[in-house]
Amino acid sequence: MRALLVLLVILGGWESYVGLGAIDELLLPAPSAIAAALVNDRALLWSNFTVTAREIALGLAAALVVGLACAVVVHLFTPARRALYPLLVTSQTIPIPVIAPLLVVWFGYDLAPKIVIVAIVCFFPIVVSTLDALSRSDADRRKLMRSFGATRWQTFRLVEAPAALPGLVTGAKLSLAVAGLAAILAEWAGSENGLGHLVLQALPQFETARAYAAVLILAAFSVALFGALTLAERRLLPWTQSTG
């Protein structure tokens, strides 16, 4: 509630700052102008939004699948840890703006390079937080499983994997925060549609309000995804909740 109040104050200040003519509307459109752009350009925004949303969703899904698989392999096979972990870390030192155009050259202007870039960016938080949760699993529980004569795989399936699920969700949340950014970068490297593409086009056309509207939609989408993930966590991992 308090956050809403703060938001209203900021919007009010912004509106009056622009309204009083302190700044050119082409440089900073008023909130009301952005709202108008949201309504007037809704068809254009929507069609570009579905493109970006697909890039984010598919990229995240790919990162989840590959990241989870990597984490499990590295956790279960100690030699794999030594072989793969340095590569995982190295993958994060690659500057995305540099390789994005190269991937576009490689995969073309359509969906594929965007998914790859979003997946590369999202993959790391997922692997690291899942791996961390797996390796921090309770020693007493593993001892108990051993006293029952459990195999390595049984201990993994019955104890370590469920215990690591919250870590996986945390990784997914962290990835969500950067997925939108990655999708926009990917679109800037070369694309024919999407919200990032729309922003690039809107600026030279002096449609600043439209660019802001696109940013707003992307932010709203990320927040919605984050909310959905939090909700899913509460439903699927009820034992992690502190009360209830």
Partner: protein, 237 residues
């Protein structure tokens, strides 16, 4: 390994790095006998049970025991599993289907006072209930020897007494060889046929008390009170 239920430790020593946990411990528990091991904190009591359960190997001496099931110090219940699934965990590990493990566990739920809590997760259960689920899980492992590590240490005094009486009844109904590790002298005397007193670290047996008091035992029984005083004296020595 023999399956008669006899547990024998002879001259067992175990160290962790430079810290000696056990130093020349010998003990014997006959089939269906309850032997309690009392001692100060950190005298290697838990290590003793790990050796019996085959979770660690002794540095010196020999450990002979049929397969033993461990009830760890904290209840060790898995927070994401229901009471029923926690109780049947050992059966799942043994290769039973989820449904079969649940059915086997459920047969005991009434006797264990857990009826109506089959689907409850551990944090929805009281401390006493959690210990009963943990004990049921240990029983269902189907081993002739039970190793109970401070089973009631986390409970308040009143619940602890209730649980001790409950455990005594449960063991009377389904006798096993039991090694009970505790720092609660009264608990040891209420439950055990024999009480071994362990010294300070590194632990070795300094006294052995036979508890020839008929069951069910009353804590106010003069004989029990006298034994308790003796055990406490041995502990302080």
């Amino acid at each position: 390994m023999d399956s008669s239920g006899d547990v024998t430790l002879a001259g067992v020593g175990k160290a962790f790095g430079d810290v000696a946990a056990l130093d020349g411990v010998s003990l014997h528990a006959g089939a269906r006998e309850t032997v309690a091991v009392v001692g100060p904190s950190g005298c290697g009591k838990s290590t003793l049970l790990e050796l019996v359960c085959g979770l660690a190997a002794p540095d010196r001496g020999t450990v002979r025991s049929p397969p033993a099931a461990l009830m760890p110090q904290r209840d060790g219940l898995l927070p994401w599993l229901s009471a029923l699934d926690n109780a049947g965990l050992a059966l799942r590990v043994a290769g039973e289907s989820r449904a079969a493990a649940r059915a086997a566990a459920h047969e005991h739920f009434t006797a264990f006072g857990l009826e109506g809590f089959e689907r409850a997760r551990p944090r929805e259960l009281s401390g006493g209930m959690r210990q009963r689920v943990a004990f049921l899980r240990t029983l269902l492992a189907g081993r002739p020897v039970l190793c109970l590590d401070e089973p009631f240490a986390a409970l308040d005094a009143l619940t602890r007494q209730e649980m001790q009486d409950w455990l005594a009844a449960a063991l009377a109904a389904d006798p096993r060889t039991v090694l009970l590790v505790t720092h609660d002298v009264e608990e040891a005397i209420v439950l055990a046929d024999r009480v071994l007193v362990l010294s300070r670290c590194p632990g070795h047996v300094v006294a052995e008390l036979h508890v020839d008091i008929p069951r069910p035992r009353r804590r106010t029984d003069p004989e029990l009170v006298a034994l308790r005083a003796r055990a406490l004296e041995e502990l302080r020595a």
